[in-house]
């Protein structure tokens, strides 16, 4: 299955992936309206270590700890992609506590959120990858 992978040598640390992610998942068709003056809840985030930057998002693990640990039974695997049923989620954040990558986070309304590969939003494939100016994140089979 195709997943998002990181080439950290090429990451510029521009944070565009974060904005593109938040915009793609906002449900709005105007980036300014979606993001201006609002807190950004992106499903990808840039980290920095020793002057190197890289993007972190859900790895869509084959045997995910978040799925096994969810106290509400709200996280499941669909065709290899790990998804959160945000209607069922009560925002206990056990998934945040167990994700070894730090790739699940508390969302705007308290429910947990994470990368779902933009498969369900209008983007259709990861917006972070589409908008990355330097191919520092790619969407491919490995």
């Amino acid at each position: 299955m195709k997943r998002v992978y990181v080439n950290e040598d090429w990451c510029l640390g521009c944070h565009l992936c974060e904005y593109n992610c938040a915009y793609a998942n906002s449900g709005l068709d105007d980036m300014v309206k979606a993001l201006k003056g609002k807190p950004v809840f992106a499903n990808v985030h840039i980290e920095e270590a020793d002057g190197i930057t890289y993007a972190v998002s859900c790895r869509h693990c084959k045997d995910p700890l978040c799925v096994r640990s969810c106290i509400a039974g709200a996280i499941s695997i669909e065709d290899g992609a790990v998804k959160i049923d945000r209607e069922k989620c009560v925002g206990c954040l056990t998934c945040v506590l167990v994700c070894p990558y730090g790739a699940v986070a508390a969302g705007a309304n308290g429910a947990a959120q994470k990368c779902e590969l933009c498969l369900a939003n209008s983007c259709g494939s990861p917006a972070c990858v589409k908008g990355c100016p330097n191919n520092a994140i790619v969407y491919e089979e490995r």
């Binding site: 997943r3 950290e8 096994r68 106290i71 509400a72 056990t94 945040v96 506590l97 990558y101 508390a106």
Partner: protein
Amino acid sequence: MGEYLIIGNGTAAVGCIEGIRSTDRESGITVISAEEHHVYSRPLISYYLEGKTDLERMLYRPKDFYGKNGVKLIYGRAEKLDPKKRTVTLADKQKKTFDKLCICTGSSPFVPKFEGLETVKKHFTFMTLDDSLALEKALTKDSRVLIVGAGLIGLKCAEGIMGRVGSVTVCDLADRVLSSILDSECAAVMQEHLEKQGMKFMLGDTAVKFKGNKAFMKSGAEVGFDILVLAVGVRAETGLAAQAGCEVNRGIIINDTMQTTVNDIYAAGDCSEGYDSSTGTNRVLAILPNAYMQGRCAGINMAGGESSLNDLIPMNSIGFFGLHCATAGAYPADADIFEEKSGNGIRRLYVKDDCLAGFIIIGDVNRAGVYTSLVREKTRLDERALEMLKASPSLAIFSPEIRRRKLGGAV
């Protein structure tokens, strides 16, 4: 592989069913459920009272779960277990045979013998959906509620009903709230937050006697109430296992494949006592994620597959009125402690022998899972890693090689 039988219908049972079915799609599975409900998420009973979920969304697995997995669900209470004849007898005398059995009986509330408890009209425990529904019926907007026990169950109950009653007072013999998961410093932060929401505390004090609507406290104080909730603690349900000759301590003793000391009988979840890798000791690890993982491990082994668990640790993610708390591992007395306070939150890291032994974060818990993985995997931290660890939980704690493996390959 023959007939599988599971006693209990909670999280561990679901793990067991899914474990069996990952290996064996054919053989029959029977589940004996003492509660007459489709499997639901027990920890959600307080969220139900708070209005954050409902009976439909509380289902831990979809309605077609049993059918899709070829599971026969029986409502009834298992009363006898004969390991030689391989039979389980229910309260209605129905007999079930098994080739492999998994005991997933969970735990039940521990209610000490209080003098005069029988004179209290409205007293409840808070463990099951039925407990929650019964408590809900008693709530009025003027109710004065006394909760005995300031642990996870007592405080989640308090949060759940806070907006629906007149007052909530919580007492506990311990000198702090959430004493099983928080150290004194962090407990003080959480207590202050809860008090701001209107919760009242009587700590280092507990009810010893009741008479009608009055509790007589150890300190000599008297507390009037309309509703009493007893959340003193829980006990593993080990009776059936003991009957079958399984070794039992505080929970049913299991090895790293979830087998009890009796052949072909497995146990998983809150009723069992397994290995806590954070302390290197055996103990009951009564948390939902471990129940699922133990159940699944048992199921795979019952079906002839191979699975073992030796990296389970205590961990909790719990929030109250918007303030979150993430904890994992152990807090050794001889550890080096790193503490940081920010806003209404606190972060305390326990470092011992160059490893993160445990941590507590109150406030911004995002990425706490990176810390949890360091505890679980006992990752050795060099000086650089320790500095990154103190800065914040992130993959920057790892060496570039390990990080590239984590982000560059399928995991």
